[in-house]
């Protein structure tokens, strides 16, 4: 059964750990908040080395490098909570009777200029995939909204979250609890079948 179609990425999970991978906090952007067009854009183009000779000029990719490592996800927030959680800037309301969508995102607060500095691992997951064969992961991202947020009266507010991925660097990232690579297309483990648990942010074993 062909259920590993990568065009059917309908769930995005942003996970973050502050204790080197022991526990993860997750934000899930589910089907209700994804549009019908492009959901995720990833660029892992390598740097190219140009060689000139008397017969030709050729370019070859340099293994392990990126020329323009980038990624973005597009979704329909509907309420600010979804966007706020995706940016990890959501301040939930605490008054009695407040529902989960009450809260705010504050920009320009001078007490929070640096943020907490923790990055997200962003994982796109195929809904019909019972493992992780359709997964796309960018392991270390600092998401931000770089484009206009267009709020009008006709179409839904669709925002593009620029993920700003950073490349894995063993010297800096070896013990941070995140995977020891920059990006992954396909299964999380090649030796056992696993699937991301969107609630816990952990890849659980899947029994056949």
């Amino acid at each position: 059964m062909a259920t590993k179609n990568i065009t059917q990425l309908r769930r995005l999970v942003l996970r973050k750990t502050t204790d080197a991978g022991t526990t993860w906090s997750t934000v899930t952007i589910d089907q209700d908040n994804l549009g019908q067009d492009t959901v995720m854009t990833v660029n892992v183009a390598p740097r190219l080395m140009s060689r000139s000779s008397s017969v030709a000029t050729t370019e070859t990719p340099i293994e392990g490098t990126f020329d323009s490592l980038s990624g973005s996800i597009t979704f329909i927030p509907d309420v600010w909570r979804v966007l706020g959680q995706a940016l990890d800037r959501w301040n939930a309301a605490t008054w009695a009777g407040a529902d989960t969508n009450d809260g705010n995102i504050i920009y320009g607060d001078p007490t929070n200029l640096c943020g907490d500095g923790a990055y997200y691992s962003v994982i796109a997951q195929g809904v019909c995939d019972d493992g992780s064969a359709a997964d796309v992961e960018l392991t270390r991202c600092f998401p931000s909204i770089d484009d206009d947020i267009e709020i009008g009266t006709t179409d839904a507010v669709e925002v593009t979250l620029n993920l700003h991925p950073i490349a894995y660097n063993a010297t800096l990232h070896a013990s941070d609890g995140y995977p020891a690579y920059t990006a992954r297309f396909g299964v999380e483990s090649t030796t056992k079948k696993t699937r991301l648990n969107a609630a816990t942010g952990v890849y659980d074993d899947v029994s056949e």
């Binding site: 059964m1 062909a2 259920t3 179609n5 065009t7 059917q8 309908r10 089907q31 019908q36 809904v127 019909c128």
Partner: protein
């Protein structure tokens, strides 16, 4: 066959309490014993694009939902229930089955559903029942059998 696959799945899921071949039909609105059209819901297929490489992946088909009940309010409510169903069920990982035993088999995977229109008045049947039509677009992969 994708429309039939959708039809069978919707009947199995009990959408809007419709019953197959009683008030829920595939591709046609049959006549009753008195020669008048039945009332209910019928699905009609409109073609869409196929893959430029002719591989049976990401095929597009539009399905029109014609709804006609003597009570105009019921017509609207059934349209609403169908839309609610698609807003909840955004797709199917697999739609497979067969007609007449195993004579006509079908197997579609990664079926994605995009409702595209709200109900539109499409005129009246011979019984004088108002017909309203709304559409959904399906994008799907066809498996070789």
């Amino acid at each position: 066959m994708i429309t039939l696959a959708l039809f069978n799945q919707m009947a199995a899921d009990g959408v809007a309490n419709l019953t197959k071949n009683k008030d829920f039909f595939w591709e046609e609105l049959p006549l009753q014993a008195n020669g008048k059209p039945a009332t209910g819901v019928w699905l009609v297929t409109r073609g869409g694009t196929t893959s430029p490489t002719a591989r049976p992946l990401n095929m597009h088909t539009t399905v029109d939902f014609y709804v006609a009940f003597p009570n105009k309010a019921q017509t609207e409510v059934v349209h609403g229930q169908i839309l609610d169903y698609f807003n909840t069920t955004k797709g199917y990982c697999e739609l497979s089955g067969s007609v007449s035993g195993t004579d006509y088999e079908y197997d579609f995977t990664n079926v994605r559903i995009h409702p595209t229109t709200t109900p539109q008045n499409d005129g009246v049947t011979e019984n004088g029942v108002i017909v309203k039509v709304a559409s959904v677009e399906l994008v799907y992969d066809k498996q070789q059998l």
